[in-house]
């Protein structure tokens, strides 16, 4: 059980079963390997939060890319399948990192490097896509 005082959600308690481990961390978000998903299935959908358990002030807004980009698909290679321990692709949660600047109209999602979470073992990884059609900055409002 984790207890922490988060910047966006105030004090929270997180059960061990809800801890997602990123063995390689998330690039650019140094110092955090353990996260939890907050607000999933709540009324802020399709957005929810990937809250760091190692740094309570750190939380990334994430979005279900399939809700914003028709025909979205993710390629994973054998190494990534092994790292995530994927046995059942149906148990993989795919998320894209959303940047919400002060000017909310500039809100954008990174379709190029989705975050995959294996719900079977709660292991996560951000995977780079080689598909050049997928933008790093996909603006959600145009």
């Amino acid at each position: 059980m984790f207890k922490l005082d988060t910047r966006h959600f105030g004090p929270i308690e997180v059960a061990d079963a809800d801890v997602v481990t990123f063995p390689n961390g998330i690039p650019g978000v140094e110092g955090s390997m353990r996260f939890t998903l907050l607000g999933r299935g709540k009324d802020s959908a399709p957005f929810f939060w990937l809250q760091s358990l190692d740094q309570p002030e750190t939380a990334l807004v994430v979005i279900d890319p399939f809700a914003i980009y028709d025909g979205y698909s993710v390629d994973v290679d054998d190494e990534e399948i092994a790292e995530l321990g994927i046995r059942d692709p149906e148990r993989i949660l795919t998320l894209c990192v959303v940047v919400i600047p002060e000017d909310i109209k500039q809100m954008r999602a990174n379709l190029k490097a989705p975050i995959l979470i294996n719900l079977e073992n709660n292991v996560g990884k951000q995977v780079m896509q080689h598909n050049d059609a997928l933008p790093i900055r996909f603006f959600l409002i145009q």
């Binding site: 690039p27 025909g71 190494e79 990174n110 959600l140 145009q142």
Partner: protein, 88 residues
């Protein structure tokens, strides 16, 4: 930083199983070939840097979840088709 000079067609080894070859040189562009085990991830540095930068920016969102939800209510619907939105 180790600096080596190579000509077209020459290559260099990093460790025992990563080989980088100079395929073609044209003006200020160099085409490189890379042979490496699958476990070695290879990315253009600017793409990797860009992703790091976006992750950093995402981690410093100034909205809280309630403010975000309110803002979202004004902005729905978000869903657009692929055809309407070009690549970045």
């Amino acid at each position: 930083m180790l600096v080596l000079t190579r000509k077209r067609g020459q290559s260099l080894m990093i460790g025992q199983d990563v080989e980088i070859s100079v395929i073609e040189i044209s003006g200020d562009q160099v085409r490189l070939g890379i042979n490496a085990p699958k476990s070695v991830t290879i990315h253009r540095k600017e793409v990797f840097d860009d992703i790091c930068q976006e992750n950093k920016a995402a981690a410093h969102v100034s909205f809280n979840s309630q403010e975000l939800r309110k803002a979202m209510e004004n902005l729905y619907p978000l869903k657009r088709s692929k055809e309407e939105s070009g690549p970045d």
